[in-house]
């Protein structure tokens, strides 16, 4: 495309198929303790 470069595809939608196992880290345990920060958590399926 001439006017658009895609940095990231529809990864969120595709994650719905395998998601929800609940094994991933609780976000507040990683570093924050005062702010909910979820988007940088790791998925246990992909380790």
């Amino acid at each position: 495309m001439k006017h658009v470069k895609t940095l990231n595809g529809a990864t969120l939608k595709s994650s719905a198929a395998h998601g929800g196992c609940g094994e991933c880290q609780t976000s507040c345990q990683s570093a924050c303790k005062t702010s909910c920060t979820v988007a940088n958590q790791k998925c246990e399926h992909k380790k």
């Binding site: 006017h3 929800g20 507040c28 345990q29 920060t37 790791k42 998925c43 246990e44 399926h45």
Partner: protein, 454 residues
């Protein structure tokens, strides 16, 4: 839902429901910005849009429109969220799988912004007994259901003041985890004052992650993090943290600071912490508190804070070696959409336990009787209150549904919401503004580092 923004000179579009992110040229940005609130694109560029964008030739806008339509057809723009079933986010009888274990309600620092009232949460200075800690491990095993991964964060107060309890807790959990079909992961959050050769070795061997508290420059740190006798803590703790990190190998850690109204130039503190050899994990976050708290960031400071995040982003864009926690957004391999709907899990998957064995939704609710979930000794656990927390997600929390950042922040912090609005479901506007700015910075940095923008 589409969100367009300009940051670090990049023109970016986030397709909220699909998770796609696009880098645009200026003409495309101007066009998409005009139509981002549409539910879907029509086949042809409307004449009124073309006339609003009179600086561009109509045929060029048609060319842009065709590209946008192609993205839409490929599920990368104006995607609906009908693939998401909000019911998937609702966890019934939510298993508890993460503990914040307040092994010490005492502290050897007197941090001025401390949400824990300098360590005791207003409940009196206490250390958790080994018996209580073991009960906490039994509790999480029993309540975790089929979940295998269990997290325990040793917290306080200052957990190094209760090292015997920490060690006995780890030993006990390790002794039964295999038999119970669990895998424990331990973390510790410490101010560093009591670090020595022995407990540095223990922490590096035992803890999957450690959070080391330091606010940044010596003047900033010492103004807010004095010792009990009123002296600054910087010179005492920095060499200890450096020794710990030097011997930590590739295991995770974060140097974790707090910024307040007194250091709105906190980008300097992030860079300072990185310069001390801690670039692999830096997190500097806004002070939390009620609006009348003298340190918490309020509406009066939020625009300054947002500008400072821009300053920090400009400083970090050429330094990929510096991992700033809040700019670390995993666009590709991050958590699934279901996790992103639920958020932190406080009060359901995640609870905090005090030295008396009282159970609260998270460390920030400790001492608030209205939110006490139960106690380890009388084996009480308020399933109704837990269900209230478990029932919250980005589709039920007020205002989140219409926010472009909902799948990144997942509904924010219930405790912050309560502090500011007296309602765990009502997002804190200041918190939301800062979160959205951090995300825009993080995505722009990614675009530049990917070579898609300059």
């Amino acid at each position: 839902m589409v969100h367009t923004f300009e940051n670090l000179g990049c023109y970016i579009a986030v397709d909220v429901n699909s998770g796609a992110v696009h880098v645009l040229d200026k003409m495309m940005f101007d066009l998409l910005r005009r139509i981002e609130n549409l539910p879907r694109m029509p086949e042809r560029c409307p004449d009124e849009v073309k006339s609003e964008l009179g600086e561009y030739a109509p045929e060029e806008l048609d060319e842009c429109w065709a590209e946008l339509l192609e993205l839409q057809e490929n599920g990368l723009l104006f995607e609906r969220d009908d693939y998401v079933n909000p019911a998937m986010a609702l966890v019934k009888n939510a298993p508890v799988k993460a503990l914040c274990l307040n092994v010490s309600h005492d502290c050897n620092l007197r941090c001025k912004y401390c949400f824990a009232s300098t360590g005791d949460f207003g409940l009196g200075r206490k250390t958790m007994s080994v018996e209580t800690a073991k009960r906490a491990i039994d509790f999480v095993i029993q309540r975790s259901g089929i979940r295998r991964n269990i997290e325990v964060d040793f917290f306080g107060g200052e957990p190094l003041m209760a090292m015997d309890t920490v060690k006995e807790t780890v030993k006990y959990a390790r002794s039964i985890e295999e038999e119970k079909g669990k895998r424990f992961r331990f973390t510790i959050t410490t101010n560093g004052v009591l670090l020595n050769e022995e407990n540095i070795a223990y922490i590096n061997e035992t803890m999957d992650n450690c959070v080391l508290s330091l606010d940044g420059r010596a003047c900033v740190n010492d103004a807010h993090r004095p010792t009990a006798n009123g002296k600054g803590s910087y010179d005492l703790i920095v060499p200890k943290f450096q020794k710990l990190v030097e011997k930590r190998g590739d295991k995770d850690f974060y140097l974790r600071g707090t910024f307040t109204r007194d250091n709105l130039d906190f980008a300097e503190d992030v860079l300072h912490i990185a310069s001390l050899g801690f670039e692999r994990g830096v997190s500097v976050e806004p002070a939390v508190g009620k609006p009348d708290d003298p340190f918490a960031i309020t509406e009066d400071e939020v625009e300054t804070v947002k500008a400072e995040y821009d300053t920090l982003a400009r400083a970090l864009v050429d330094h990929p070696e510096i991992n700033f926690f809040h700019f670390n957004v995993d666009l590709e391999q991050g958590p699934c959409v279901i996790k992103r709907m639920r958020g932190c899990g406080a009060g359901s998957e995640y609870v905090c336990i005090t030295p008396d064995g009282d159970i609260y939704p998270c460390h920030q609710f400790v001492g608030n009787e209205a939110f006490k979930l139960g106690n380890l000794y009388d084996e009480s656990f308020d399933l109704e209150l837990s269900a209230k927390f478990a029932g919250m997600n980005i589709y039920t929390r007020k205002e989140c549904g219409s926010c472009w950042a909902k799948f990144y922040c997942s509904g924010g912090c219930s405790a912050a919401n309560y502090n500011v609005n007296g309602d765990i479901t009502q997002p804190s506007h200041v918190g939301c503004e800062m979160e959205r700015k951090r995300l825009e910075c993080a995505i722009a940095i990614k675009a530049i580092r990917a070579g898609l923008a300059e």
